[in-house]
Symmetry: C2
Subunit: 413 residues, 2 copies
């Protein structure tokens, strides 16, 4: 096996610089559009601004159960001095008339207000009004929710239930959403076996495939499973080339540490221009991450360590997928919490500290998870979020307020 | 049309009391178990504690690329005084020997530490060690991640990518998860037409079906679409009875306001015991919500107003679905934010205030959305979270710190 580089990385690139360099070179373009029924559009990303073709509601509606009237007919009415109005069933309310309406029902022509049922009495086909109403009272005006030509949902929005409701209300049955990016995932390493196979001594089950493809799906991407490649130039090269044919992006894990063969980055740079853009990031975990571009498609060369590959994905793959989907800004849910103990960190590295956030008597606390290295996946299942320790800090203090990025539910006591 | 109750609710029940009364009567039991491959288990809820059948890793592994050695052989080594070790390719490392290992590879018998590649030089088939290592250094010990018999994932956990990885690492290919609850959804109202139909004047497109079924799916429930029922006892009764046959829970919208006919709650109480448990909640929006149980199955009778039905779902349906899934505690993501302006609220009601949260210079601000009633769905698409104003407050102050429950992504500037 060739020992390409035996020394440590000569220079580590800062996280922000690495991502900026990479995205500048990649110029990720949106991937085209799917037109889907809105019943299937939950969590899809809107491809272009949706403009209302009409008002919502499309007519003046009653906001209450009661009687549609001309407000001026009620001005003198009170519980001490009722006003009698003639009950009409015609589609027009004239002076001195009232027409029964239900919540959400159309206001008849001529009427401009609704007297609540509770403020009326029915007396021999006449309506006794016991309270005055002002024009517009208890009426939802046409266009109150959305006005014609208004932008209802903007491009880049990930559709939530309430967006779907609004689109439906406007009679919109289909919507153009960003096509799902396809991400091909390859695990490399002689020691790996597929899930379901029994590992021999010295072998381990490949876990990154499953983790990273689940992370892709949570973002709304599809995945192509390229399986496992041995630590062999031809095998790795063939599988990555296959991934580049089938997918919009390729993610590999393993074979990135310096001193090892650096096989994957060698292979990728041979597959096409411009090849590896950055290798070695001033971060922890995931320092040996490499970012490459082959003929316009991104290739992410992540560590084989599960926690390191996970953070490599979080920091570099996630924002790239969001760009491909046309999303400008989609932070994970975050919150401020008090750190429950001091943690040390290395100056000059951006550290992603795993924490468990819980709510106790209305306050949020972040408990740092004791980590033993980036191979220990249970530190991720014990955590529900992470805190970013900046490059210019040597650690965080006990009791310090930190911003936690959540990847699982908040705990409680 | 019968006018069952013309007066307002005689007594409103508090939110906490209503939910407690209802759940006490319902005694929601878990719904049984599906055994699924872990590749399909993302976001499913674990049905029973998963226990490790072996250690992870299952053998001592090298945490670095380098040479496996006996630490005692290196104690005197330094960059000024190297120690020469004999390179061996046997599966055992004896005194004075070193064996090449790669990250993740099994430590050979006899070795108890790894010298990093960077701290060695290869000299004529011998290894010059330039740094001392202590026993265990650069070694991931067997069981370091998970120990045999340890609980790996607890019942009630909604599986995230990292959980799937850990299960895979332990060789677990399938997992028992809670069966997806089935929720049947019925919209009632003479004014409603299905999405795709052109509404006549006075008609509106039914939107609640789409909103509530999307909310169900986000929780991991399946839905049965019962369509639209006219305001007619037999039609409503038939469809709810159908829902009760097919599903674990029924949700209806419309026909709950007092003064109107209260048709749905009349129908539900006739369908079986114990019928309506609570009707009229001291909350805003969603005051006319009713909670019922028919032969052990929950029936949620929500307002026809989209925003009110959405909050009725949030406050009553959501926790019930979580119980059916076996989840004790799954709050939405939340955070503390500063309210940007004063809001008034009614004493004695719990108010769900829609807000838009954004992050500005590291601080979180919550901007109350100006609402015009619970029919205006665009107030929900403009918001990304809500704040609960307690019953004993008459409002919230400008600059006050509030807890926001997030239902969409945080904005930024």
């Amino acid at each position: 096996m060739p020992l390409a580089r035996l020394k440590g990385f000569e220079k580590l690139t800062g996280v922000d610089d690495a991502l900026r360099l990479f995205l500048k070179e990649l110029k990720p373009a949106k991937l085209g559009v799917d037109c889907v029924p809105i019943s299937e559009a939950l969590e899809r990303v809107v491809a272009e601004n949706v403009v209302a073709l009409g008002d919502l509601p499309s007519f003046d509606r009653s906001a209450m159960d009661g009687f549609a009237v001309r407000a001026s007919d009620t001005f003198e009415a009170s519980q001490f001095k009722s006003r009698l109005l003639k009950l009409t069933e015609k589609e027009i309310v004239n002076e001195g008339e009232a027409s029964q309406v239900w919540t959400g029902g159309m206001l008849p022509e001529g009427a401009d207000a609704v007297v609540m049922l509770e403020h009326t009495r029915k007396v021999n086909g006449e309506i006794e009004v016991l309270a005055a109403v002002t024009p517009g009272e208890n009426v939802s005006k046409r266009g109150e929710d959305i006005r014609k030509k208004e932008v209802v949902v903007k491009a880049g929005v990930r559709l939530q239930p309430q967006h779907l409701g609004l689109l439906a209300g406007l009679g919109i049955t289909h919507i153009n959403v960003a096509r799902k990016p396809k991400v091909a995932i390859l695990s490399t390493g002689n020691e790996l076996v597929e899930l379901g196979q029994k590992p021999e001594p010295g072998q381990v089950v490949s876990v990154n495939q499953l983790i990273l493809s689940a992370m892709c799906r949570q973002l709304g991407a599809e995945t192509v499973n390229l399986g496992i490649a041995r630590d062999n130039l031809n095998e790795i090269s063939g599988k990555i080339a296959d991934g580049l044919r089938q997918a919009d992006a390729v993610v590999t894990t393993g074979g990135t540490s310096v001193g090892y063969a650096d096989l994957v980055s060698i292979v990728v740079s041979k597959l096409g221009k411009p090849g590896v853009i950055v290798h070695g990031i001033a971060m922890r975990p995931a320092m040996p991450t490499a970012l490459a571009i082959v003929r316009g498609k991104p290739v992410f060369i992540l560590s084989g360590y599960p926690v390191a590959s996970l953070f490599g994905f979080e920091v570099f793959v996630r924002p790239t997928i969001l760009r491909l989907l046309g999303i400008e800004h989609e932070p994970r849910p975050m919150l401020k919490a008090k750190l429950t103990r001091r943690v040390a960190s290395a100056l000059g590295r951006r550290v992603y500290l795993r924490v468990y956030v819980l709510q106790k008597e209305g306050e949020f606390f972040a408990e740092p998870i004791r980590t033993k290295g980036s191979g220990v996946l249970s530190t991720m299942t014990k955590a529900n979020g992470y805190v970013v320790i900046p490059e210019d800090r040597e650690g965080l203090e006990e009791g310090e307020t930190v911003i936690v990025h959540l990847f699982d539910r908040i705990g409680g006591t």
